[in-house]
Symmetry: C2
Amino acid sequence: FQRTIALMNQKGGVGKTTTAVNLAAGVAALGRRVLLVDMDPQGHASLHLGHEQGQGQGSVYDVLMDPGTPIGRVARVVRPNLTLLPGETDMAGVESDLAGAPDRLTRLRSALQSAREQFDFVLIDCPPSLGLLTLNALAAVREVLIPMQAHFLALQGLGKLLETVGLVNQSINKELGVSGVVLCAHDGVTSHAREVVADIEQFFASARGGEGACRFARVYRPAVRRNIKLAECPSFGKHIFEYAPWCPGAMDYRALAEVLVAEQDMM
Amino acid sequence: FQRTIALMNQKGGVGKTTTAVNLAAGVAALGRRVLLVDMDPQGHASLHLGHEQGQGQGSVYDVLMDPGTPIGRVARVVRPNLTLLPGETDMAGVESDLAGAPDRLTRLRSALQSAREQFDFVLIDCPPSLGLLTLNALAAVREVLIPMQAHFLALQGLGKLLETVGLVNQSINKELGVSGVVLCAHDGVTSHAREVVADIEQFFASARGGEGACRFARVYRPAVRRNIKLAECPSFGKHIFEYAPWCPGAMDYRALAEVLVAEQDMM
Ligand SMILES: Nc1ncnc2c1ncn2[C@@H]1O[C@H](COP(=O)(O)OP(=O)(O)OP(=O)(O)O)[C@@H](O)[C@H]1O
Ligand SMILES: Nc1ncnc2c1ncn2[C@@H]1O[C@H](COP(=O)(O)OP(=O)(O)OP(=O)(O)O)[C@@H](O)[C@H]1O
Ligand SMILES: [Mg+2]
Ligand SMILES: [Mg+2]
C-alpha cells in the first residue's frame, strides 16, 4: 500500500526539512523504496542530501510546468532506495506562472500518477506557506504529517493549518487526512513542552469518531529530541544516519521510520 | 537621536518576535520611550505582551489603510515607557488591498512621521517574508537587525535578505543600513555554531570600508542563549523580565538592551 505523505507547516523553521530528509533516509534504510519531493524553492531538502542546484538538471519546476514529464527524467537516485525530485528557486514564481491554469492545483498529483508502482513511500517537503506549492502537495497525497515544536506560539498556527487541510479535503482531495504531528527539537523535560503536547493530544482526542480531517491524527512517538548533530549534517550534504548514526537525533528518526514502516505493513 | 529598527528575517521561527518584544521591554526598562510595531498578521508580538486581537481596537492595518491615522489613536501603552501598535490578521490581505496604490511601500513611514518626537526607539517586528509588510518596515527605518540562529541552513537565506535591504536602500530609503545580527537560541559550545558565527563575522569584515548596506554591520553580543523561559513567557502574555528576570534569557536580552542604549548615547 503506497503511502503518500506531505510534511507541512506554514510556520517556518519548525523541522519540516529535517524530518522529511531523515524519515526518507530512515525508511529507505529499512528497504522501502522512497521518493522524496522537494517542494520548497529554497531547495533545503535537496541541499541537505548534497544535491547542487542550477546545474541544468531537472526539478519539481519542470514537472509543474509540464505534468507529462516522466518522473524518471527529472528525479535522481541519491542513495540506495532513495530517489530525490529536487527543488529549485524558479518554483518561487509558480503562482504567477500557473495563474489562470484550471489544473494549477493538481499538477503534482498528475505527475505522480506514473510513479505509483515505483515507490512504496512518497514524502513531500513543503515550503513554509499555504500557497500554490503546498496546495499541490496536499492535492497529491493521502496523508499530512505536521512537524512542529512544542511551544506556545507554535500552537497558534495549528488552527489555520488544519483549516487549510479541511478545505482541500472537501474540495479537491477527499482522501486527504492528517496522520499526525511529529514533535521536533523537543525538550521533554520542561512542563511547558509537556503542557503543549497535552493540548495537542487532547485536541486530537476530541476529533476521534468525528468526520474531520483529524479524526485519525495522533502525536507520533518518539518526539525528536533537540540534537545539534541534526543541524550540522546538512552542511555536509548528509542525512543523520550517515553522519552520526547513533546520536540521539538518529535514534529518534530511526524509531519514527520504523513506526511508519510498521504502520504500512498493517494498511 | 531616535533609533528606528526593523527586526527582519524572511526565514520563519528564528527569533524575530522574541527579540523584538524583549529588546523593546529591556530598552523601556532603561528609561527610553519605546514604540513596538507588530507588523505580522500572526500578531505574535502583541500576543506575547498579553494583547488580545479582535476587540475592535486599532492596529497597524488602520495605519496602512490611512496613514493620516494618529498613532496615539491605535497604539496603546502596554507597560511603562512601552507603547504597542498591534498586529492583526487583516494585514495578511494588504498586498491586494494596496495593489496599485503608488505609495503602498511608504505608508508606514508616513504614519510614523508624527511619532518622531514621542519615542526614542521604534522597533518593528516583521513577518517571515519579503513582501509588502516587510518592505513597509524597511522603508520606514534607518536600521535593520537580523535575528538568526547559527545553523548552516540559516546562512542560506542571508544572501536574499541582504539583497532586499540593498534594493530598498538604493530605491526608496537611502538611509537604510544593516546594523547587525542578533544570535538567537544560541548554543555557543558546539563547533558548528562557532563556525557559522565566524562565517558571518568574516562576511561583515569584508563589507567594512565599502559602500554596501552591511558596511557598519556586526554580530551583536551577547548571543542570546537557548532558554526555555523565553518560549514559556508568551503563553502568559509576559516579556522575560516580568516572567523570570534573572534567567539566562533575561540576562542576555538585558545586556543587548544596554548595548542598544549605550550606542544611542553616542549617536
Ligand atoms: N531536532 C533538532 N535538533 C537540533 N536542530 C534541529 C532539529 N530539527 C531541526 N533543527 C534545525 O532547526 C533549523 C530549522 O529546521 P528545518 O530547516 O528542518 O525547518 P523547516 O520547517 O524545514 O524550515 P523552513 O520553514 O525554512 O522550510 C535547521 O537549522 C535545522 O538544522
Ligand atoms: N533563546 C530562545 N530560547 C528558547 N526558545 C526560543 C528562543 N528564542 C525564541 N524561542 C522560541 O522559538 C520559537 C520561534 O521564535 P519567534 O516566534 O521569536 O521567531 P520568529 O522569527 O518571530 O517567528 P515567525 O517567523 O513565525 O515570526 C518561539 O516558540 C519562541 O518562544
Ligand atoms: Mg524546510
Ligand atoms: Mg514572529
